[in-house]
């Protein structure tokens, strides 16, 4: 599905493609990328949510009171699409309970709480798989899974699953997403500047696992130091068929589908995944985490987090142990410079607001953003849509946001789906440019959720209807059978009028049949309430007995 190339970009020799729309937003990266990375202090208490990834919630494998070491597995994955959780420092498990977590819903979720002992003692690490190129890929994948690696770009999909697309989907291109197009966030930038060689090692491992012919590392051109560092590390390595590709700064170039389009000109089919067109996309931080898991046996217990915004004293990047409460990071970065208008987890375009800074940082958290009042959207109520079409102009999916808004507002879910609601990536471009300040993305999220709920209800209603129809059919069939037999019996009786000699036999046969029926009834009663209460479609054991009696009577009569 190639479309006309638009872009011949000066920054690279490579031909690039352009996706529709996108916006230029002030990137605000200089706020936080000027200071060196620091390790966040060890908090007194670590709170590790069991759900830090897409898929099944991890199951705790420690108990309250257990002493745990850093890197020790404290929760097991529950299924293929799931990930384990590791203790991020040593200490004692003091609680396994529901705590507030950073989630758009603002709801609380089950967490393992560790009171740290300050020693930060490590469990014995898994052996390095230095010679991974000669190991079974399954072993390497299992290592990645065992180390709890998930996508660190925000979606947190288990990496082991993503790197195992299966034999029927050959992968030709590995794309490393180092775009970091969200304003304010610089953790990937700093990671590339300081650990470029780890990134390149990660690329090598992933490329080996996928058997990809080429690897493209896409970086927005507002990160020249990162580009230089990666190129240097690449030159120092013997990695072939890998290229660092600077791309023009345009939000949301870091969207997986958008980046694939920019670098390859291909569009991932609607509703499909990149592997269908031979591409796998990995975030650059995830790539580095893979390298550490494979080459150093290090589980995912910490990550780089950007603490920034004009309401923060000294914005910077921190190496944060997972489970560290947000407020300790703010305190480490000079506290609040002013009362923040909003505290976000993630960037301003796609992040979500936190109700409190007393929530732990998770694998998915790449940024803690405290925005000053001047940096946030005007809280005034939105005006009416004037159909100016700016939203459609900037939509990277080439949707018609104003139409979707119109129908979502009317709760016309069919109509809004006709306008391809489910191709919306919720990047926020439409709402950003809207002159009426309508929270468009919120409407689309509502419409999506309502559609899912409705589909589920519809599905269930469909099943109930089918069950009911089957029950009706069965009843009708049984009724018809019963009538047929009665008719047979009546005919048999009519055929032999006044045959007194055999009347006694007949009476005896009927009596015998009744006896058998009574016995069966008694047996049924004796076998307990269970069978009687089982909702037999034909009305329980009594019906059984009378029905079984009737054929016998007929048989007896027929023998005469």
């Amino acid at each position: 599905m190639r479309t006309a190339p638009f872009l011949f970009y000066q920054g690279t020799q490579r031909r690039l493609w352009r996706f529709h729309g996108g916006i230029h937003v002030p990137d605000e990266k200089a706020l936080s990328n000027q200071r060196p990375v620091e390790a966040a202090p060890l908090p007194r208490e670590l709170v590790l949510p069991l759900q830090q990834h897409i898929g099944g919630m991890a199951r705790p494998c420690v108990q309250v009171g257990d002493r745990v070491l850093a890197g020790q597995r404290i929760a097991e994955p529950s299924g293929y699409i799931s990930a384990p959780i590791h203790a991020s420092s040593s200490g004692t498990v003091v609680a396994i309970e529901v705590r507030p977590v950073p989630h758009p819903s603002g709801l609380a979720a089950p967490c393992i709480v560790i009171e740290t002992d300050g020693e930060d003692a490590w469990v014995e690490r898994l052996p390095p798989l230095i010679d991974y190129r000669h190991s079974d890929p399954a072993v390497v994948l299992e290592r990645i899974r065992a180390c709890g690696i998930v996508g660190l770009g925000g979606a947190s999909f288990p990496t082991g699953v993503k790197l195992n697309p299966g034999p029927d989907q050959p992968i030709t291109t590995l794309i490393i997403n180092a775009v970091e197009c969200e304003p304010y966030i610089t953790c990937d930038d700093l990671l590339m500047r300081t650990r470029a060689d780890t990134v390149i090692e990660g690329v090598r491992i992933i490329q080996h696992l996928l058997g990809a012919e080429q690897c493209l590392i896409g970086v927005e051109d507002n990160k020249p130091e990162a580009i230089a560092a990666l190129r240097q590390a690449l030159a120092d390595s013997d990695l072939a068929a890998t290229e660092v590709v600077p791309i023009p700064t345009l939000y949301p170039s870091g969207g997986e589908r958008q980046l694939i389009k920019i670098l390859t000109g291909e569009e991932v089919p609607s509703g499909g995944i990149p592997a269908q067109i031979g591409v796998v996309c990995q975030n650059v931080s995830t790539t580095a985490a893979v390298a550490e898991a494979v080459l150093a046996g290090r589980p995912l217990v910490s990550r780089l987090i950007t603490v920034t915004g004009r309401a923060v004293g000294e914005p910077r990047n921190l190496e944060v142990r997972l489970g560290t409460p947000a407020h300790t990071l703010i305190e480490h970065c000079g506290g609040y410079a002013e009362e923040p208008a909003k505290l976000l987890c993630g960037g301003p375009m796609m992040g979500f607001a936190l109700e409190s800074d007393r929530v732990p940082m998770t694998k998915a958290a790449n940024c803690l953003l405290a925005l000053a009042p001047a940096e946030v959207s005007d809280p005034a109520p939105p005006l009416a849509c004037i159909r100016c079409g700016r939203c459609a102009e900037v939509c990277p999916a080439n949707l018609l946001p104003q139409q979707m808004y119109w129908h979502a507002r009317a709760k016309d879910l069919d109509k809004v789906q006709d306008y391809n609601l489910f191709d919306c990536i919720e990047c926020g471009c439409c709402a950003h440019v809207c002159p009426s300040h309508i929270p468009l993305v919120q409407y689309y999220r509502f419409a999506k959720t309502a559609s899912w709920t409705r589909d589920k209800e519809k599905h269930e209603a469909e099943r109930a209807r089918a069950r009911y129809a089957a029950r009706q059919a069965r009843h009708e069939r049984q009724e018809a059978e019963r009538k047929a037999k009665l008719r047979q019996k009546a005919e048999a009786v009519a055929d032999k009028p006044g045959d007194a000699g055999q009347g006694a036999d007949k009476q005896a046969a009927i009596a015998a049949a009744r006896e058998r029926a009574a016995a069966k009834k008694a047996r049924a009663a004796a076998s307990g309430d269970g069978s009687a209460q089982r909702r037999e479609p034909d009305g329980g054991p009594n019906a059984d007995a009378s029905q079984s009696a009737a054929p016998r009577v007929a048989e007896t009569l027929a023998q005469d």
Binding site: P348, M349, G351, A353, E355, I386, A397, L400, G428
Partner: protein
């Protein structure tokens, strides 16, 4: 900690409705200035009167609808409607007609449909057509450009004509008013005069009517400002002008003595005002890019058709209103290909 949790994006919004409307008003200034220069103070009086009535009417209706009036007034959309209406009507139209037209535009066409963003028809043009059909004589009595007028009107004369309905002392109505160049051209052509002969009159400038062509060019300047400020996009203006020019050129090439040149059509009447300020009203136009091209080009063709063979001298308002009706269907049929889809889903 802040209690308002609202979904992303959280970024400060760069655009605002009132700023868009304000830029439209600024862009209208050169054209209004030219109109005042050529047609006297009546234009300005009409603009101010229309604004006053529009804002008052909008506030009153919004109050009746039990909503806060100030945010609605502040979006400036009523002012834009008023100004567009005022530059479309004759400069000496009696005040009560202006009031009726504006009230119709704001109360019936805009607010009864739900206010800004919900009106299917362009309010200014609907108000104009309402008056044109109801009061055709008053609505077609224009002034000659003051540079060639035998009796140029003073500010007091304009006030008297508008508010008292009285011509300047010692003069009859006919002595001060005149048909528009489009009207004159049409009447002359119906009398089977050749265009070369028609254009002998001092009413004509280089391409269109004298004065009118400059008014058009100053509206064009304002329109280019809107394009540069990205308040409007090129699709509608270019397609309106191209549609009109194409059909006019075809007939003109066929017989230049009975069909005015494309430039005459582009520089006469409200063509440029329409292309940049009226057809581009986002509420009543399609939002898809291809739809805008269809919409604009059809307006251009309709303008020519109605001007040449219709019952009224100018055709902007009719063409725009007709295409307002078609806008939703055009939009439906011109949806872009969504990312990751093979072709248009419908």
């Amino acid at each position: 900690m802040p209690g308002t949790v609202i979904s992303s994006p959280h970024s400060a919004r760069p655009n605002r409705v009132d700023r868009i409307m304000l830029q439209v008003l600024v862009a209208l200034l050169p054209g209004i200035g030219a109109m005042v220069w050529y047609f006297g103070w009546g234009v300005l009086i009409n603009v101010l009167l229309a604004i006053l009535v529009a804002v008052t009417a909008e506030a009153a209706v919004v109050k009746l609808r039990a909503r806060a009036a100030l945010p609605v007034i502040r979006d400036l959309s009523a002012v834009v409607t008023a100004v567009l209406f005022a530059v479309a009507i004759p400069p000496t139209l009696p005040w009560w007609l202006t009031v009726i037209g504006v009230l119709f535009a704001i109360v019936i066409v805009k607010q009864l449909y739900g206010g800004l963003g919900y009106n299917p028809f362009n309010p200014a043009m609907a108000g104009y057509v309402f008056l044109l059909i109801s009061y055709p004589v008053a609505m077609t009595s224009w002034l000659p450009p003051q540079v060639i007028a035998e009796h140029p009107l003073t500010f007091i004369d304009s006030l008297r004509m508008i508010f008292l309905g009285a011509p300047p002392p010692g003069l009859a109505w006919d002595a001060v008013t005149m048909a528009t160049p489009l009207d004159a051209m049409r009447t002359a052509l119906e009398e089977n005069q050749a265009i070369d002969a028609i254009r002998q009159s001092p009413l004509w400038g280089d391409y269109g009517g004298r004065g009118w062509e400059w008014v058009g060019i100053w509206f064009l300047v304002g329109g280019l400002f809107l394009l540069a400020r990205r308040v409007i996009t090129w699709q509608i203006p270019v397609s309106v002008l191209a549609g009109l020019a194409a059909i006019a050129a075809a007939y003109w090439l066929l017989d230049p003595q009975t069909h005015p040149s494309p430039l005459f059509h582009l520089l006469s009447g409200g063509t440029l005002l329409c292309a940049f300020f009226i057809a581009t009203d986002p509420v009543t136009a399609p939002t898809t890019r291809r739809g805008q091209l269809v919409f604009g080009a059809t307006i251009g063709v309709l303008v020519y058709v109605i001007r040449s063979w219709g019952g009224y001298p100018d055709a902007i308002a009719f063409a725009v209103l007709l295409m307002n009706i078609a806008a939703p269907s055009i939009e439906q049929l011109t949806q872009p290909r969504v990312f990751g889809h093979q072709r248009i889903s419908r």
